[in-house]
Amino acid sequence: MTDAAPAPPRSVLVLGGLSAIARAAAELHAAEGARLVLAGRGKDRLEEVAADLRLRGASAVETVDLDLAACDPEREAPRLVAACGGTVDVVLLAYGMLGDQLRAETDVDHALAVIDVNFRSAAVWCLVFARRLEAQGAGTLAVIGSVAGDRGRRSNHVYGAAKGGLGLLVQGIAHRLAGTGARAVLIKPGLVDTPMTRGFSKGGPLWSSPERVAAAIHAATRSGPAVVHAPAFWRWIMLVIRNLPDAVMHRTKL
């Protein structure tokens, strides 16, 4: 993106339009007059979110009722791009599923569901849109990863492995797109207070609001490195955690 003013409104495709973080990010795009397409499960709920975004300044909001983890991205992508007006400036991949680590350790189907939602299906969406943005020679693929993907840990290694794998893929796509005019960026939130983390005890200094993470996402869709932590302080926390010797790590319950 150049910073020639005033820029025309961007078209933003949100995969996972009901996610709390995605909604907060969509709000920031809406305030700039963006044209938004929200894809996710449940027409009525998507429409409720869309009505809010219209009142917040979005120039247009369309909704597409789609099970993103179970559909064929190759087949669905054209109509999503059409809903964006033919060109996509930002693709935000925001859907995901935390799952239950203990259950995933014994229930193979649950483990596979976590991997399918967070890695397998998401990877296909990324590859499909990487090709699209490459052909456009413009646009940003922004993908929500997780700090859980930075080091395998006892408390969330199935989710972490899926998000970590997705992170490597996006990092590679960013490398591949370098110089094409298109970009890819991975945003790795830390602990975020959303419906996905209900039941956690929250409120410490490490917890952030979806709004704060959304601000980092919004900035990352404009410019910046291919991998960012949100909020930024997680970069330093994860640097320490990644480098803890096993002898220390294995004595913790992280």
Partner: protein
Amino acid sequence: MTGSAAETAPVMETATSWGRTERVVALTLHPVFASELVDRPGAGAMRRLPVGLRRSYGTTVLPEDEVVLDLTGLDRLVAFDPETRILKAGAGLSLDRLMRWSVPRGLFPATVPGTRFVTLGGAVANDVHGKNHASAGSFGRAVTGFTLLRSDRGVVRVDRETEPELFAATVGGLGLTGVILDVSLRLVPISSSDLMVETVPFGDFADFLALSEESLGRFEHSVAWVDCTARGARLGRGLFERADRAETGGLVPHDPGRGVPVPFDAPSMAMSRAAVSAFNRAHYARGRRKAGRVRTPYAAFFHPLDGLRDWNRLYGRNGFRQYQCVVPNEAAEAVAVMLDVVSGSDQGSFLAVLKRFGPIPGEGMLSFPMPGVTLALDFRNDGASTLALLDRLDAIVREARGRLYPAKDGRMSPAMFRAGYPALEDFTRRVDPLCGSRFWRRMTA
């Protein structure tokens, strides 16, 4: 954030109200969409207590055996009509978020309470009031309708005209008449987000009465802080603030930051008599120095304490009690008697606020405001001695034919409640059979 239509599972949570005197572990639901409640299997038989951001101080937001419905996830804008300036939004939308949307558009709620961290549903359920009560009335006056989920009638659209009784029961109805899902309210146009604020020191309670009398109709907003530790001739001294909207200047929304956090419970010493007294003396002196008219951003005038997140933790582990009463104008002297009692006790009140309510009656059967003088006091919770002091104040309020504000209460007697709210019987008939709270259980025991 699964991005799916999966229903929210209930979780066990520790609930506390703003005063932090009681903690309750309760099953809690955090719906993000109203349909999660409306279509929920088994919801028809579930006892429930809807809550918002829990800025109520006492037991109205704590469950007895109810499932807590935390509605803060229902925070979306639904519709806005620029002709009528009526905004329809989810009941969980906070005034904080509402104003961040509305101020740049030159719109403002008709009245706002002393914190912007309240939800629309909570503002309706407590019929909250602000510093402009004399001209705007309380919050319910700008509300044109809402959607209510009743256990006996399902989803009911309640408009002032079509369901006048249910409307009047729900405004100020403490969340007991059903679950408010969305609220429609009329916003007012503003040409600046600033206020021109004038601070006038006053020497005693009689001066306050004269000042508030003189300011009625001349200033849109007025409020006074009283030094509750001053005794004798200085009793009732304080600072009177009165303000109007600036006519020019930008439309600048407040900073979205949540303020500076109070990271831990302060030692109880922090609110000792000496500390409170020193604060009050310093505050009075500062107010005297800066007396005059000053351009002030709206957040600094309406919500000074919101800049300090979790300020309730300053009162230490045992929490604190707030006491807010109103007495009719003809019995205004009762407030001077109360100030005397407080100042003579060893329990300094850190924050003592005096306001004059205007003649516009509340819309609700249990609306707190009535024409007269309202006094709000904070006390560190010292257990029995605090309760004994509040009982003494109750007697004065009752004698003056005044009433207490349920949103602030965690200890008033059922008799005190009945005495203050003559429409209570009418109200009780309209309570949802499955709604309840710790407060309501105590009042109806």
